[in-house]
Point group: D2
Chain length 449, copies 4
């Protein structure tokens, strides 16, 4: 294989994730596959099946590093990919490659008692763990920055919009606090998942028969835990080769993360519109044709991820539901690239969320201008409550239908029944933001408010 | 509206859910909408905004029953549906209808300070709660029955299949225990969700401005909790009008349930095949043309749900990601029928899972016949471990390539290097099931093993 | 079955389709099922297997009307739904019901040689045909109305927006012409599909064995065509019981229709935003809380459909791909409600598109105001072409970075190298709309331009 | 960028497409992007805007080859990917890179009047065209080989299965003919699409304003056709920057192809099951643990594609429906990787379909054994027709409920009313295959039957 043909995808069509996705690249998957194989040998030693020497020699030969797994093993991803076609999965040729790389007497210990799925599932959990370790801090950072924005603009009144139309006032801070809540909820779910990522050690059909047959049932029963310890993964109650909730629950959390960021990005893109202009990304993107453009690029890329992630999640749920027999005829294979792409999207989305949050600028003037745009109609809900009892529904409706801006204030002042009202206060959007401030506060740790 | 036009869907194309989905029907949604509106008035009374009398009168007029919500309110679903078209949601006309049904002085208290989304979101959480209260016991029942099956067949050896081919032995019990684990995991997640279903009380744009303006911020802040108490829903940290995790987390759990049952159904359908025949549904379905057919109807219907649910979940995640502004321009509306259909599928799936589990029959003879089908090749993994060290890889491969059935036993007995081996024991699938028994046990409460 | 329990869905959560979807309701499906059964008998007579008398008697007994199928047959959808659960499909009990309703000697002719799938697939094609007959004129009407708008605003310059930002000018007419092209393309594809909807007559497993066995191969071979003629459906090359392109190609076209309308609705919703206000739906929807609101309800409902349809289409493609054996174990059953819901969405979407198009108002003032918003930067692409050769890239960039509005004109006039240029013309957006007019024309039949 | 980081995906998790997807790799996309840029310059020369010399020099400098586009341009995919992040698309940096590579006086002609979307959309159509040129012959080849199989086994009776159960007889040939019809239909649709792939030339917002402004409206109007001619693409009626049917119709056809192959693979996987064993892939895949395994690897990989493709298609439809404004804020970006992955899947699927078809083996013995499995019940539909008139429904049902195999023949011979019947013929599945032979013939060109 020429190295040129090897790089099917070097990120050209994935500007969202470029520079953030190496931890789930093919190279990273190979690292994780080798790491899983070595951890198996180490686990066999830990439970007394193999000698410590075997584990040490294999670890050394394949570049095992405590806490980091295997990196300098020399297995080439694209060659492995080529060799994977025949059997339909990369572990089958990997076993042969690894056996060649360890001392001859240790060879039988490579992949002993295991099946391809053990190694591939465990490897995918490993790269998921690494990815989650990157994503979570990014989410926390984005949330913290946005929480500061919420605090800063706790009381900046702004038009709230429903079904595209100005509705009533809210505050910039309340809106930002909503983003924070969404991101933190997703981040928290992702953290829970990270603690639960399980090792997969089941043997050919999830019974650990080979290990039990050779080393006894107790040793076999102890093996998954021993391998999990090597990898800092969780020991599952039983192999999950065809009960795929570890995959779908991970996917659900990833889709939720991308969705929470998609909501943020959707609002930022909308509020960055030339006519609205309340928000701007710090570093707007350029255009190949129009020199004046400042595009909300991070929002656009985040939204592109938000449009894709749910269907990737659906594929993983389908695969789980169709996980026939003791290894299914297609569903398992559909998971690999799908889960990986979902991790990639989430990595890129989290990184762009930080950039977006850190650069986000609020144009107070635009916020105020938009707030005044309907000339008081923004508080018509309030006006209705105060005025309908005084002038009746019909006169109120007529008043609303005609009035805008200064006209409305003047019109109201001309209403005899409203003579005692402070019209300016009544029309002040800042006086009609309800609990917006409280909700903004909730996004900010108490010591920072 | 003629009654004929009213019943767009009376279940004709949904045999899965027919008879199980009334709790999420349009009538049930109307009940929940009315219940939410009454609970709002009761909540306003609870926080001191309204008098107890108002709450009592409204409750009485609209058929509120403690713990059961409103049923005998006389609001017709199809008429409401017709009136909903203009504004694009059924709450707008509902408010008018309800005001007509309460004593004149109480009318202003209906929907006071609320917005359509408050009522519709809360109503959807109410029907979700009711649905989950039905689904969970069904899942537990199905899991319990299957756990008994796992116990009964703890040690019944059976062929495990990977990529459609016989692989190694497992046990019927281990397979059933896998189903149990998948169902229980999903059920447990659904139970968690049920405790978290939140009320929605946010007012026009999630600030509770109308309530705060009229009754003060403290009263407004207390209102969601008061309404939640009336409805046995959770009080959220803030309105979730455009942070939609309550919807997507519910959806994720529902899809997981349907997926776990889909895995069960996929295995049952496969193992019910005429050629395999290890399993049979208790009451096979008939055919319009073929008198001998005994179709695995519950499995088929469950699988049809499993093929649909993931994409319904994807739609809900998309809607969440695109929940623009303070109420989005389409995403919210896309949720209603999608979430309801997902609840419907899950209700039907859970009910059919009970029927399937309770009627499921294991044909031990067929299990044994299939187990013997490859004449010992099923334990070739074991043979390899034992024989390769004695006769080398090449001779072993040749032996496997040729041997089947009694031939294999005879062939092995003819191998000089294997003279000391107990060939019958070596070829016995029951002696090569590893931890299958242990995994089967794990599905069964200790006192029942 | 009480009539209350029968109406699971009377449209309460489907304001998009309410009033437009009766042709695909359960009642309509029952009509189509009965029609298919009667057409089979008539087809059997047409090919000489049955006597004309049998066909006449059965037709009369079951309410066959030439060109309209069966309506007054008295088969109740909800009762049939209840009876469908056992066998998992409504045709099984339907056969018994119909036999009871025809003269005793004719009973054996009901469903003769057929299987459930023949009848249900044919019925779904029938309701699809009827739905398409409603959808296509609506699409044509919407396109015609929008084409008139394109003609009227052929030369109304407007800001074009890319990635949310003002880019260069376009015209209102060019934008409308884009909608027209999208809708007409989808409508044309739907029309092609309508001509291709096939009858399904295959017998138990797609071989027509029962018919061939009883009446001979030639008669059996002629039967599908004879039934197709009765129903104005196409005669397929062979039964398509598990080659499901008639379903997926229909679904693709429906999703394309909803997508084309989704693009229209997305633009209308965006351009209706309070700050943009270039467009308004004729009859804005009200709000339960905010008296001033004029919501773009049709756009919102259309967008809700656009968010749902693609995943419904995906389910149908999945079902097609998994159409195992001679009738699959779940995939076929997943099609029914999914295809029906997709038809329902498209019916509603087409109807709302007409309403939206007919009511759509262009606010020329707002269009002009937005056009001027960036004070000439909208034509910066043009300025670059003209000025960079005169003043170089750096000076041009500085000029663009600073200039807005009248300032820009003044700034340009102060540039010595631009002294000979007509600055007003250079900055005139109407002079930089390229082929917008031509593209607008293309949407309008020549005699109407 | 190190070369290591460059190869995010070298096919490790995509054994389906490895070796078949280079035509849609990042390198191929770069080739297509450069080709599109050069074609634009050539088109500008063709319409008289640029001189022939400019076109020649740019063509030479960037490696244009007649009929093959640009290959030896030296633009590195991974570097371009890195540079694409800032603006969110690779064309922005590409323009600068290409300008550096052409003679200084020609630089202004690169990307003249174009926008990123013109180049990227056109490039994606180019790689789609190349991919389709590979896919179609593979589909034709697979269909031809399967048609030969259909001819060979035109009259090989086999059990037809519905809802997993033996139903009635069919023939191996009829089943294969179904696959052929499905594949040919999809291939034909793909061929239609290939002829329709349009060039995209619209300028910044689809008006071609820059070109019209500089060279006149007629020249601008002629430009898309001129560029299309250079690239053998179709000239569209108008730019399709936000009317995305060229993308979705392509996607629909690709999903249909993968679905048709998914149906084939599903049948092959099912009929390859150890217990059924009627079919076997020529080169079964090995296992990392079980030496005897012969896995239907191509079927498994095809099925994995079939589970993924529909959701990729859904994403493209969503992107089309949400193509806001004159370039959308995320929807367009979501298309690139999704369409490319769908092309990749289809390339791999078509290649594997050829391998699968060419290697497919029918085990006539297994087919016959399964056919006999229910001992005559397979023709119970036929028995019912013949016997019910003689012995009544009840006696017939009892007979079917008890009888199997030779017993059934004996039982039937003992029925007095059946004394005149040829029981052996009546029970012969080969005599009850209806039009199976005719349908098998339809898949085979007349001269080959």
């Amino acid at each position: 294989l020429s190295s040129e043909s090897a790089a099917f995808d070097s990120g050209l069509l994935s500007p969202l994730s470029f520079g953030h996705d190496a931890v789930v690249s093919d190279d990273a998957v190979v690292d994780a596959l080798v790491t899983a194989e070595v951890a198996l040998v180490r686990g066999l030693a830990a439970v007394g099946a193999a000698t410590p020497d075997v584990a040490d020699e294999v670890s050394r030969a394949l570049g095992w590093q405590e806490g980091a797994g295997c990196r300098s093993h020399g297995v080439d991803a694209s060659r492995l990919a080529a060799a994977a076609v025949g059997g339909g999965n990369p572990v089958i040729p990997l076993v042969g490659v690894l056996r060649e790389r360890v001392p001859e007497p240790d060879r039988p210990w490579i992949h002993r008692g295991a099946t391809s799925q053990d190694v591939l599932d465990t490897a995918l959990m490993l790269i998921a763990r690494t990815a989650l370790e990157r994503i979570t801090p990014d989410l926390e950072r984005a949330a913290d920055v946005l929480a500061r924005l919420a605090a800063e603009h706790r009381d900046t009144p702004a038009a709230a919009r429903t079904l595209t139309q100005h509705a009533v006032p809210t505050t910039v801070g309340a809106r930002a606090a909503g983003w924070v809540r969404g991101i933190r909820r997703a981040a928290s779910r992702l953290s829970d998942i990270r603690e639960q990522l399980p090792v997969q050690i089941g043997g050919a059909a999830g019974t650990l028969a080979a290990t039990a047959d050779e080393f006894g049932a107790d040793t076999a029963a102890a093996l998954p835990g021993a391998v999990a310890d090597e990898l800092r993964l969780r020991t599952p109650d039983a192999p999950w080769h065809t009960e795929r909730w570890p995959v779908t629950e991970l996917a659900d959390a990833l889709v939720q993360v991308v969705g929470a960021l998609g909501k943020l990005a959707t609002d930022v893109a909308t509020l960055s519109r030339t006519e609205i202009a309340e928000l701007a990304e710090g570093a707007g993107g350029g255009s190949s044709a129009m020199p004046q453009k400042q595009n909300p690029v991070s929002s656009v890329l985040l939204r592109s991820a938000a449009l894709r992630a749910p269907q990737l999640g659906a594929t993983l749920h389908l695969a789980a539901a169709l996980a026939a027999d003791e290894r299914p005829d297609g569903a398992w294979h559909a998971e690999w690239p799908t889960l990986r792409e979902l991790l990639r999207l989430t990595l890129g989305a989290a990184a762009h969320a930080v950039a977006l949050a850190e650069g986000l600028r609020v144009d107070r003037e635009a916020v105020a201008r938009n707030l005044a745009l309907t000339g008081g109609l923004l508080v018509s809900e309030r006006l209705a409550r105060v005025l309908v009892p005084r002038i009746g529904t019909d006169r109120f409706a007529a008043l609303i239908a005609n009035g805008t801006g200064d006209d409305l204030a003047a019109t109201l002042r001309a209403v005899p029944e409203a003579a005692d009202l402070d019209i300016a206060e009544l029309l002040d959007p800042a006086a009609y933001t309800g609990l917006a401030g409280t909700f903004a506060d909730a996004a900010v740790p108490e010591d920072r408010r």
